[in-house]
Structure formats: structure tokens, C-alpha cells
Amino acid sequence: MVKGEGCEADRLRRLRWRCRRGLLELDLWLARFADNGLETLSDEERGNFEALLEEADADLLAWLEGRMPAPEDHAHMLGLIRTVG
């Protein structure tokens, strides 16, 4: 395997594992996105997704469900998840 490829695959797998959350609904949102949208992300978007995953479960779900206004930084990624998921 080419070294770069290994790192790329590892990075995707790491992101997939970090989609495991404390709330079922969040698992469902993120798992669906990971299955359908993760591989087509640009480098920048992937960074955005990583940053989004650092947020607290309760906030993340509230933003996805539109119960709370999301911070500007995450708006694009949340929009993608809502469309793809």
C-alpha cells in the first residue's frame, strides 16, 4: 500500500469511529452522513467535519434539528449533513 493511501483510509476510519455518540439520534444522523457523504468531502470540508465532531452532543443535535441557531463556523457542514443524511 502507498503510504499516503493508508493515512487517508485511516483518517476516514477515525472520523467514522468519532461519529459514535452518546445520543441515538446523533448516531443516526452522523452514521448516515459517514456512509453517504464522507468520502466526497474536500480537505477543507473534512477539517470542518472534524471540528464539528469536537462539539458537545447536546449542542450538535440541537443544531441539526434546528432547535438552536448554529455557530457560523459550522453552518456549511451542518447544511451538508442535513442534505446528505
Binding site: 467514522r16 445520543l23 441515538l24 452514521a31 452532543d57
Partner: protein
């Protein structure tokens, strides 16, 4: 293999694990918390309702009334010494959280906000009490984040994204730590500690329909069974009647309160037959059993005939949009149905596990041994949903689970400090015990057959839903046990497609499946043994509670599927015992 030494190791980063860890770290002990996801992503965040304590901020209240409600709610299967302990400690546990900085909602007079939950009464079954302390709708989140920050300050060491393999015990039964693997590198690690606490949470993923997050796979329960120790009362699982079928997202009773109703595959409003007056607004257990019976008798909907339909269309778009916007969104998103146009597929959904690892009220794991049925296992503790202390008995009351976490997390922490002080030196580590978990891990690198983790997991969850969900009777359970044996055999023929080391989630899911299979076995064998209906366990063939034969706990051992029992502790610590009465509300 890498080896790390601590005074204590805590497995699980949820509320109970972090509360115990804090007790130890604040006392200067060297503590490790091992968690397969980041601790603040533990399932504790799903506890939105609050934490129950008789503070009396809204209605007159005292811990003794809370104790009565909990004993009654448990259908008299809860241990009354543990329940008294929990209810007496509740107020101080809540004030302690307040002092740690948990931002509770406030009443106008500045006191902690409390809300009313079902099953809460004043004066031993009188007027509704208002007892559950809340931090808006995110009490679990606030609790977890508060405890996590305090642990960071107290220098608890976190092993984030480590997956535990097995306990390490010596010939005399002392627990000396555990083996785990780094999910990131795939490398195993030995964490040696004189005291080990299991705080791995629930195992709802064993059912097809569950509200539990994907991490709730009963890892601590599997470890305990493989270590030759029993599990208690595993037949008791709390179900919510209406979760989205195959998804598990809960659809609140409020939907039926607004006029939504259930129909079967023939379009019949079947609740009329089960509860002629209350119909769709009957209590949770009645609705759950009615749905399960319809499905069992072949009147379920969908290609697997495994759910019924919740109809809302007749309410009209305006009412749905105004009063049930969250439900509409959930249904569109996860069931693919806009309830304005079509019915929501629903089925009973596993929510909480009352049984688990038997402990005493110090959180010490107890098991039958030479001198009695409840001898502590030296160096081994358990708290939270994975443990059975038993304060929830046959049925848990809302608001008591967060309380269970902090009261017994603290109690276990205190006792571990005593134990560590009395046992200051490490014991010799037997190599065979260390190898046990590593061999289990290594087996997943072999090619064994053409079964897949995903395939077996799906079949297991369908099997449990069908044979050991809400609808239970001997023939159905026995058939389930037979099919489970077949699945266990086929699980031995799984080959992992992905053999990479880094973040190999397929391997983690395989290890989780091993634990789920054991949880399933414990649940079915225990459900078969208990020939009565009590709390969340209801048998079609034994519809009554039978205090003469079954006012006792079951204990399941992996070896030969042995099923023992032990008495319920009916004697509280200081007050009079509550004698079993009919449980009606």
C-alpha cells in the same frame, strides 16, 4: 505489550464512572478512566429529564416518601437497604453537584427547579410530588460535563478511545486490572490496578428496537460473565411502547394525547380490545403488551410484520405543525414518512436495563461463594446501568437513573479508597489471566468462515425482539434460546474483511458482538426461569406476580447456563420494611 500501573482503573466515562473517579482523584489516588469514546459522548447525555431528590422546593417532601415510591415502582423487587441509602443520600448528592458548578434551572425564589414525574407521591402514595431536579432539558449533559471538568482538574488520567477486553483476576479471585486495546493503533495494553470499577452502562443494542446509542453493547457485562461471575435480574428491561420501528427513536405519549392512534395490518384500532376505556392512552406497559401481542399473532405491518402504525393524518397539517413539530421532523428524517400524509411505523423499544452486575451498596461486586450468596469480589466494583445494586428492581422510575449514578458512584469511590488503603501492595499478576483477553483479540485476525459481524448482529437483535421482547412465554423463549445457540455457533465462523490496525471499527464491532451474544443468553435464560409477571417482565403464561415463589433475584452464570436465585433484601437500614402490595396507580 505496554503496561501501565494505577491505584484504580475505571472502565467507562459516563456519569457513574466519572463520579467515582473524582472521589479517588480528589483523595490523591492515581486513577485511570478507560473509555471507548470520549467521556463527554457517553450515553449519560441522553438523560434529559433530571435527577430525583426529595428537596421539597416545590411541594412538601421527604426521602422516606421517595423511598416508598421507588420500592413500589420496583414492584417490590428492589433491595430496600439500597433504596433507603439512595433516597437518603439524594439531597446531599444533588447539593454537591450544585457546588461543583452544575447549572441547575432555578425557581423564582432561587432554589433548584424541580418537576413532577410519574410515580412520585407525597405521604406514601398520596398526592403528586414534584421531585425531579432539572437543568433545562439537558441535565445529563450538564452532569457529565461538570464531572469531566472536575476530573481534569483533579488529574484523572484518561485513556480515550481504548476498548476493554477482559478483567485480570488471580487464583484467589482478586481483580488486578484489565486488558484493553487502543482503538487508534490496535495495540493491546495491560492496565494494572489494585481496584477496578466497571461503569460501562447499558446493553440496549441487543434488541432490534432500542433508544440506546450504538455504544451501549454491555461490554462490562460480557467481561464479568467471562470472568466466571454472575449477572442479576437480566430478565428486566424497560420498554417504551412507541419507538420508530427498526430505528428506536422514541415517539412520546404526547402524540397519542393529541389524538394519534394505533392500528394493525388490518387497519383495526386494536387498543379498543385491550383497554376499552383508556384505549391509546393506557399506561406504557399495557400499550407495549398490546402492540407486542398484535405483532406476535401475525397482525404486524411491513415486510417482516414487525411493527404497527401510529396514525396522525386525521389531525391535519396545522395541528401537527403547531403541536408536534419535533415528532414530524423525527418521522420524516428517520422513518421516511411525513405524518401529515402517512402513519409512523412503531414498535416497543428497549430503553433501560434494570438488571446487571450484582453489587452491594458500596458498589462492590458480589457473588455466591463459600460463606453466602453475596460475598464481595476483592478489588472489583460496578456502578450505574451496568450494575444491579438493586434500586430499580423490576421497573425503574424516571429521574432515578442519574441519581443512581452519582450516589453509588460516590459510595463506590469512598469504599475503593478504604480498600486501597487496606491493600497497599500490588499482587502478582498471573500470566494466563493476562493472556485470556489477548487471545480473544488475536482470534479475530484468523479466517474462520464466511459469516459477517453485521449479519449476525442483525439476526441477534431481531431474535431478541421477537423472542424475548415484551411478549414472553415459555415456548417462544425456548425457541429463541435454540436459535441463539445456532447464532452463537455461526458467530464462530465470522471472518473480518478489514484486518487493518488503525481505527479498525469492524474489529471493535466484532468484540462488541461477543458481549451482546452473552447479554442475550443471560436475558433469555433468566426470562425463562422467572415464571411470573412483575414490573417490566411479563409472561403470557404466568400473568400474575407470584411473591411466594418469586420475591427473589435471579443470578445467571455463563457456565452451563446455571440459574440461581438470592433473596430480595426486604429489610431497610433504619426504617420499617415496605410490605409488597398490589402495584396500582
Amino acid at each position: 505489550m505496554d503496561k501501565r500501573v494505577f491505584d484504580a482503573v475505571i472502565l467507562g466515562g459516563g456519569g457513574s464512572g466519572l463520579r467515582a473517579a473524582l472521589q479517588l482523584a480528589d483523595s490523591g489516588f492515581k486513577v485511570a478512566v478507560v473509555s471507548k469514546v470520549f467521556p463527554t459522548r457517553s450515553h449519560t447525555v441522553s438523560a434529559q429529564g433530571g435527577i430525583t431528590a426529595a428537596l421539597g422546593n416545590v411541594t412538601e417532601d421527604n426521602w422516606h416518601w421517595h423511598m416508598f415510591d421507588t420500592v413500589k415502582g420496583s414492584d417490590y423487587l428492589g433491595d430496600q437497604d439500597a433504596i433507603e441509602f439512595m433516597c437518603r443520600e439524594a439531597a446531599s448528592a444533588v447539593y454537591e453537584l450544585e457546588h461543583m458548578g452544575l447549572p441547575f434551572s432555578r425557581l423564582d425564589n432561587g432554589k433548584i427547579y424541580q418537576r413532577a414525574f410519574g410515580g412520585q407521591s407525597q405521604n406514601f402514595g398520596g398526592e403528586q410530588a414534584v421531585r425531579t431536579c432539572a437543568c433545562a432539558d439537558r441535565t445529563g449533559h450538564a452532569l457529565l460535563h461538570t464531572l469531566y471538568q472536575r476530573n481534569i482538574a483533579a488529574r484523572t488520567q484518561f485513556f480515550d478511545e481504548y476498548y476493554a477486553l477482559d478483567l485480570v483476576r488471580d487464583a484467589e479471585g482478586y481483580c488486578l486490572g484489565l486488558t484493553a486495546m487502543s482503538i487508534e493503533t490496535g495495540e493491546p495494553i495491560l492496565i494494572e490496578a489494585r481496584a477496578t470499577l466497571l461503569a460501562t452502562g447499558g446493553a440496549g443494542r441487543v434488541f432490534w428496537n432500542t433508544s440506546n446509542a450504538m455504544i451501549n453493547t454491555g461490554d462490562g457485562l460480557g467481561m464479568v460473565l467471562r470472568a466466571g461471575l454472575p449477572l442479576e435480574d437480566m430478565e428486566f428491561w424497560q420498554f417504551h411502547p412507541t419507538g420508530i420501528a427498526g430505528v428506536g427513536s422514541l415517539i412520546t405519549e404526547g402524540v397519542r394525547g393529541e389524538g394519534g392512534y394505533l392500528v394493525n395490518s388490518r387497519g383495526e384500532r386494536f387498543m379498543e380490545r385491550y383497554a376499552p376505556h383508556a384505549r391509546d392512552l393506557a399506561s406504557r406497559d399495557v400499550v407495549s403488551r398490546a402492540i407486542a401481542t398484535e405483532i406476535h399473532e401475525g397482525r404486524g405491518c411491513g415486510p417482516h410484520a414487525d411493527h404497527v402504525l401510529l396514525k396522525l393524518e386525521h389531525l391535519g397539517e396545522q395541528v401537527i405543525a403547531e403541536r408536534l413539530p419535533g415528532i414530524r421532523e423525527l418521522s420524516i428524517r428517520f422513518a421516511g414518512v411525513d405524518p401529515v400524509n402517512g402513519p409512523i411505523p412503531v414498535a416497543p423499544t428497549a430503553h433501560y436495563m434494570m438488571g446487571g452486575i450484582p453489587t452491594n451498596l458500596n458498589g462492590q461486586v458480589v457473588a455466591p461463594a463459600r460463606y453466602g450468596p453475596e460475598e464481595p469480589v476483592p478489588g472489583l466494583y460496578a456502578v450505574g446501568e451496568c450494575a444491579c445494586v438493586s434500586v430499580h428492581g423490576a421497573n425503574r422510575l424516571g429521574g432515578n437513573s442519574l441519581l443512581d449514578l452519582v450516589v453509588f458512584g460516590r459510595a463506590a469511590g469512598r469504599h475503593m479508597i478504604e480498600y486501597l488503603t487496606e491493600n497497599p501492595y500490588p499482587r502478582e499478576l498471573p500470566d494466563a489471566a493476562v493472556q485470556f483477553g489477548l487471545k480473544r483479540l488475536a482470534r479475530w485476525s484468523e479466517t474462520r468462515g464466511d459469516e459477517t459481524v453485521d449479519g449476525i448482529t442483525r439476526e441477534l437483535r431481531r431474535l431478541m425482539q421477537k423472542h424475548c421482547g415484551v411478549y414472553r412465554k415459555r415456548a417462544v423463549l425456548e425457541e429463541g434460546l435454540g436459535e441463539l445457540a445456532g447464532l452463537q455457533e455461526r458467530a464462530g465462523k465470522i471472518t473480518l474483511g478489514d484486518q487493518s490496525r488503525v481505527f479498525n471499527t469492524a474489529r471493535i464491532e466484532a468484540l462488541e458482538l461477543e458481549n451482546l451474544l452473552l447479554v442475550a443468553r443471560a436475558t433469555i435464560v433468566s426470562a425463562l426461569a422467572r415464571e411470573e409477571s412483575r414490573g417490566a417482565h411479563s409472561r403470557e403464561d404466568f400473568p400474575q406476580r407470584d411473591d411466594d415463589r418469586w420475591l427473589k433475584h435471579t443470578l445467571y452464570h455463563l457456565e452451563n447456563d446455571q440459574l440461581d436465585t438470592k433473596p430480595v433484601r426486604l429489610k431497610p437500614l433504619t426504617v420499617d420494611s415496605f410490605k409488597p402490595m398490589a402495584r396500582s396507580y
